[in-house]
Amino acid sequence: MMTRNILRLNNLWPFTIKVYAFIFIIIMSLVFGFLGWGMQYKLENIRNEAHIRNNKAALDEISYVINHIQNEISHIGKTIASQDETSQQFFNPEYYHYWRDNRILGTATLPEYVQAVELYTTQGHALTRQTIGNMPKRLPEQNIRNYVTRQAGDDFLYIFYPVTSPQTNATQGYIGFKINLLGAIISEQRFSNIEVNTLSFSVGEKEYIPLEQIYSRMKFVLIPNAENIALTSSIEKSQRQILFAMIVLYFIFYLMLSSILSAPLRRLSLHIDSLRKGQGGLLTKSYTRSLPLAELENVRNSLNDYQTKLEEMHLSLNEKNNELWQLAHHDPLTGIYNRRGFEEGWKHMLSVSSGHRLGVALLLFDCDHFKAINDTYGHPVGDKVLQVITHTLQTTLRHGDRLYRIGGDEFATLFLDVDANLALNTAERCLETVSQYDFTSIGILEPVRISAGMAYASGTNVDALSNLPKQADVAMYHAKRPGKSKIAVFDESMLENTDILFSNRINSLVFNAIENDDSIEMHYQPITNLGTGVVDYYEALVRIRDGDNLIIPSTIFPIIAERRLEAEFDIVVFGKIAKDIEMGKIPPGKGITFNLSGPGLVDPFVLEKINSLEIYLSKYTLILEVTETALITQLHLASTILNRLRLKGFKIALDDFGSGYSSLSYLANMPVDCVKFDITLIQQLFEGTRQSIIIENLASMVLKAGYDLVAEGVETEEILTRIKELGFTRGQGFLFGRPESTCKESADLAMFKKK
């Protein structure tokens, strides 16, 4: 119960001003009540004291009257006793009745309350047998000379005095008076303390009460003390007035508290609550109504000032938020939306299109060989390239289409409610526009191209919609592949080759291999001299060990390319080759060919690593294989670098010739020592078509130009025979030997056996 009360009290806490006012009024009422009770108690004491005092005064008053009556009767008695006529009655009572009735009672000398007078002898006998007024025939006992008794309902006082002789001073007899006591008291005094009409004596008939004891038999009602009544009335009136004044004051106090403090505070509180519930939007109106209390007015002014400051701060915060949002969602270099902006835009797109018959297309753009451009021309130029691409794409896209920079040189845009063809056309137009831009204006001599990967889905296909980013990535991967179209639209078949790209395990292994080359193993495939059948070179081919399995380049390099790790991977591979050389795994005097990636070709760290291999040139012929794509992309720079390497003693081989542009004009300008025909060209030799003739003549031209010519994909003796006829210098393929962890001699072929 107590706990419940405490909880209830806690619910009320803190108290409102009204509760405090109520408590104050209750306390004041209790104080007033206590004071009033105290005053009443004092008043009652005063009344009691006054009553006692008045009662005493009343008794004194009665006592005075009775004494006065006694004195008066005593005086009368003495006067009568001193008269010769009275003395004469004791000598000769013949005319006693005349004397009593005419000379005493008949004269006006006696008070009216004296009802009877009689004389008695010294023996106490009445002078007459015919006493009047029930005067006794004999005097009462000596010790009861004055007494009160009741007769016929009235109280009478009997008083007896001795009558002395004037000459001898001896007692001659007695004189007795019968007095109507109540009449005497009433007639003798105007009482100020007693309601005289209420005065009575509780004396029985035939009961004789000595006069001195009569006071105990008196009953009377006191006259209400006028002063007490006035005082009481005045105090009670004052109490009523104070009570009324306090009620009025309480009411005024409550009204004042309510109107001056509580209501303004409540309004302030509501105003503050309104501010608090504004949920970011401040009230447009400040609290303008003035308040009746200076302190509250200060609070109101402070609140308004605070509100103004808050509004200013809010505006400032909004600006900052906008700025921050802009910074957070925009790319500072290009001014377009960044990856965060893309993610929000993508979520918005999902929310808008999911479940609707709306076509959604996601286009990814990627600048080809951007890292090489960056490394070659420097970051400022790279930044300008990005700005140019951004500007170009923006001007090409429809008004309202958002362009996002989601990576270093990666851009994206989303099309809602479009069909796939329109999206594809837009992508083609973008590529075309970029390709037509004159990048020499920013100092870049090579053509700058972008690739595009597109994925398309309908909003009704929620799963496909959510996979669009991955699909667009896959499409971009395909678009980036050498010899492919620069635009790729995702289809399911792409996943077969690219699943590995998105295998977390493979990715992890590749990254680990770059960090630590322990898992890297170099396998060497012989490149055989077609004239002698002897291995001239070994092509170093990289493998990554995964337990008992080996991960081959076709799995490794898409990841390397996607992650732009070509240069780093080149350095690791070259380091591994150097270790193999040091370990003697490669027979001295043989040549070693190894692949140099496009980005690695222009990477200073890679070149530094290549230069570190220079020490082996005395024992080994070191041949760098570069693809024509890598060369063409940055022909000028690549040529410069390769020439320097050639001067140091390195040989350059053009790898996979025929899988890309295979431009003869480029070939003529390429600083290479050797051309390796791609397996596709070799295979086409046997198709008997125009292509085989071209290839045959191409081989002839290359040879005539002074290049060594190497055929890849020599897997049969038929091919071997054919390429020998065509004058190929060397051959590489399973016929001669597969890539092995150790350098092995070429297969012992009959064709090369000495006859």
Binding site: D84, Q88, R103, Q167
Partner: protein, 206 residues
């Protein structure tokens, strides 16, 4: 005079019960003259006052003359004022009978006591009998010289009263105290005393 009151030392009010008679007064005068005489006084001058006092002296002197009485001084000598009609009525048998029954006290008019002289009928009749002529007779029959002292301001004296006295007793000497009233109040009391002393000094000269 005791007026019937034992050891009387106060004047007796008109309303007090008067039970004494003129005879009782004459007897009391005789008692005191005899008492003086028995004590060896040879020259006795009784002094009377007012009507009943002077009448009781005159009546005693006429009824039982005493040789030691050389003179009598009568002060404020005047007749007794009586309602004659009342006296005459009470003297008849019927009135007398009703008032005298049981010694009853009744109210009469005697002297100053107008209708309030409370007395028995005998008392009233003993005093009311002394009308003016009867008093003047007592003057004329006096056996001793009479010295009469009157107040010039005494209003109760009848008209020509001194002349009537002298006419009935030419030897009577009348002295008038100037400005004295009936009771010789004030300084006239001294004049009265001087007059009495003067009269008493004349005794040896007689």
């Amino acid at each position: 005079m005791s007026l019937g009151v034992n050891r009387r030392k106060q004047s007796l009010a008109c309303e007090a019960a008067h039970t004494h008679t003129m005879d009782d007064e004459t007897g009391e005068v005789a008692f005191w003259i005899n008492w003086l005489s028995s004590r060896g006084y040879k020259d006795i001058v009784p002094v009377g006052f007012s009507s009943t006092g002077n009448i009781s002296l005159l009546l005693y002197n006429i009824q039982t003359p005493h040789p030691s009485i050389k003179k009598m001084i009568l002060t404020s000598f005047n007749p007794v004022h009586i309602n004659q009609a009342e006296r005459l009525k009470l003297q008849t048998g019927a009135g007398r009978k009703s008032h005298a029954q049981g010694g009853k006290i009744a109210r009469y008019s005697v002297g100053y006591c107008k209708n309030n002289f409370s007395s028995t009928l005998n008392t009233y009749l003993s005093y009311s009998a002394f009308v003016d002529d009867k008093i003047l007779d007592l003057i004329s029959h006096s056996t001793v010289p009479l010295e009469i002292i009157l107040g010039s301001a005494d209003t109760v004296l009848p008209v020509n009263w001194q002349a009537k006295i002298i006419a009935r007793n030419p030897r009577a000497r009348i002295s008038v105290v100037n400005k004295a009233n009936h009771f010789f109040e004030g300084t006239t009391e001294l004049d009265l005393a001087d007059n009495v002393e003067t009269i008493l000094k004349t005794i040896s000269t007689h």
